[in-house]
Amino acid sequence: MAWTWFHRLGSPPYVYRLAQRLTPWFAWSAGIILIGATFDALVLAPPDYQQGEGYRMLFIHAPSAWMSTMVYTTMAIAAAVGLIWRIKVAHAVAASCATLGATFTAATLATGMLWGKPMWGAYWVWDPRLTFELVLLFLYLGYIGLRASFDDVQRADRASAVLAIVGVIDVPLIHYSVVWWNSLHQPASVMKLGTPSIAPVMLIPLLAMFLGCTLYFAALLLTRLRGEILRRERAATWIREVLAS
């Protein structure tokens, strides 16, 4: 039973309809949680004893950073599935992730710069974590550029899949760079064993932002995925039924 479900995930019409049904759920829940979380983060949560109001950048910066690597990992896994088992829908998922991931990465770098100026005194430092995050941006851009340079969709899919898989080594580098090297960056305060070292009144909006961003990403991904499937399958007959409904 579980196997047929998995098998159906390889079928573009099934995935299209599934995405169509799920998108509103993700979109609405993302909207509600993000609005709530933002209000909590900006208004309800108290100022930090060290940084004052400036620390609130954390509520965008940390979720963006988390998303940038999470999306890349998703993209790499989808690409690997598509490459190994030759499932076209998996390639469509990977393609849909790329621009979203690049945007999250750019947002991470930008919010990091805006936060870094008041906190460290500089917009940019070449510490390991920032450098590897910048490398991640280049990986995304390289992925998008490589896809764009082939007319043949199959070649574009497979070549970019190899790139995505090779680049996945950057993700652990980003996460563990603060552990392995002396870095200006704080070590992990949430994602570590033991209790988080951050006050609950700040932790809750932060976790809510994480959740909201993830749901937001899911909604966007499913929307882009539908567009991607339509583009790839435009010659197929099931498209006409879908567009008629």
Binding site: L139, L141, G142, S149, Q154, A159, V162, V166
Partner: protein, 238 residues
């Protein structure tokens, strides 16, 4: 004559992987020496980029010495990128890569042989010339061993990692810039530790730890990069 066509493929007749690798290396070396642009162009480019630094910044040797590690590695990286264009281009165009893929030998192994030869032809000359370039930037001669070793190891790692990019961009028109974008993320660790090793060498301090890290990267590259490059080559043949 028909005896040739009917000769049974006895196990003795089939080439071993070592035989095949030796032939790949020999062929690439022979071709490079008959058409030397593959060796000369990257070296010339390296020299030009090095020259740009004193022209663009300062002629004072003491200040040039400070930027020397960065300048050497920027120039080496750019020269390596230029050299990477030669790695698969000809073989892809005349069908040699296709024959490798159909030879019954491991494509990964043959690509490793090609990449190693490529390094011998481009990375090693670069390493040999780098002390001269460093001298032009005010670096004391004592730093030569460190610089040589660093650039030799680093260019090897760059060749390995660059082979992946070169294989992915096979057949892409004007793929040079795309190649740079693809290789840069994978080359960043090499650049960081290579420049560090050079910096330590110039300062007269022990650079062994940084070299060991470079060597570790090269070893990791040797095991993984040819696999990815072979996958990319097969994709380009589809």
């Amino acid at each position: 004559m028909s005896a040739l066509a009917t000769a049974v493929l006895s196990p003795a007749a089939v080439s071993s992987p070592l035989d095949a690798a030796r032939l790949v290396v020999a062929r690439d070396l022979k071709l490079a020496f008959r058409n030397r642009e593959q060796i000369v162009q990257p070296l010339a480019f390296f020299a030009i980029v090095i020259t740009l630094f004193p022209l663009a910044t300062t002629a004072e040797l003491s200040r040039l010495r400070e930027i020397a590690p960065g300048a050497l590695w920027v120039a080496a990286f750019l020269a390596a990128l230029l050299a990477l264009e030669f790695l698969f281009r000809d073989d892809s165009q005349d069908g040699t890569l296709e024959q490798y893929a159909l030879s019954g030998q491991s494509l990964t192994w043959l690509i490793l042989a090609k990449t190693a030869t490529h390094w011998l032809l481009t990375g090693v000359p670069l390493a040999l010339v780098s002390p001269l370039a460093a001298g032009a930037l005010g670096v004391p001669w004592e730093a030569t061993p460190g610089i040589l070793a660093g650039i030799a190891l680093g260019s090897f790692a760059l060749s390995l990692v660059g082979a992946i990019g070169a294989a992915l961009t096979l057949g892409v028109k004007r793929g040079g810039v795309l190649l740079s974008v693809l290789v840069l993320p994978l080359a960043v660790p090499v650049l960081i530790f290579g420049a560090r090793a050079t910096q330590l060498a110039i300062a007269g301090q022990s650079y062994v730890a940084a070299l060991e890290l470079l060597a570790a990267m090269a070893v990791l590259g040797v095991t993984l990069a040819p696999l990815a490059a072979a996958a990319a080559v097969r994709i380009s043949l589809e």
